[in-house]
Symmetry: C2
Subunit: 132 residues, 2 copies
DNA sequence: CGGTATCCCGTCAGATACTG
DNA sequence: CAGTATCTGACGGGATACCG
């Protein structure tokens, strides 16, 4: 999604296509998972690391910075002896999760159908291809 | 989104995480745009090319094949003199677009807020960083 | 017309090491 | 604890050329 020129008007969206601008960022490897993990609770960097499990420090750091830039989350630094940094969702972030959670639910519901479609497709491929 | 191991159980989703499995595929450069372009109308390969505008033959071909594999679209080949191939949405494809269109609408609505967040962030960066 | 095959390069993400 | 810096390999996607 990231290369489609945002500066050129595509056929159906004018100017810097908002959909791309938004989905390019959130559609990456980790953004959605981080937002989902922050739902309902403020969390520290290392807690996020542990809960997500297989994300590297670098990617978590980058992802958090981008989400903060775009206004989805807020970063709070406490000037303490061992540094403490907490992250939580902003109103924009929570707002975003509403339609997003519908999509997540759709994915959950229809995942079997997609698996089945893939199975059927590979079957068809080994047989002969239909025509109209 | 594509590298997070689907085979390992992450903290909040079990087994091959459906959300990743679905969003990894449609979260690419072109899938969503192709689905959106096919809304309400069956279209031929070259029509899609022209309407999308800046997609290459190869990427359109790949994208269509993936979408067909996953059951979002149907491909119909007419055995005619100049070959004719038409694509249209399946029920699954139309079903998918429902939550997706809510997300698209969200992006449209909140795009200004995000632009503003980015602007504010870069302002803050040049000044001094706040702490709590 | 509707593709596939090949080449090639830019970006992205992991590993590792270092810092305030 | 919470990051940043650097290096590197993998991969996505464009350009081009060819095929049924």
């Amino acid at each position: 999604m990231s290369k489609h020129r945002n500066d050129a008007a595509s056929t159906e969206f004018e100017q810097p296509c908002p959909v791309r601008d938004v989905l390019d960022r959130i559609g990456d490897q980790w953004s959605l998972l981080v937002l989902l993990t922050l739902q309902g609770e403020t969390k520290r960097f290392n807690v996020l690391m542990r809960e997500i499990g297989d994300i590297s420090k670098q990617m978590l750091s980058r992802t958090l910075k981008q989400l903060e830039q775009d206004g989805y989350i807020r970063r709070t630094v406490y000037a303490e002896v061992p540094p403490r940094v907490e992250y939580d969702l902003t109103d924009l972030g929570r707002s975003f999760l509403e339609p997003m959670k519908l999509l997540v639910a759709w994915a959950d519901t229809h995942h079997p159908a997609i698996r089945e479609a893939r199975r059927a497709y590979s079957q068809r491929a080994s047989g002969g291809r239909r025509e109209a």
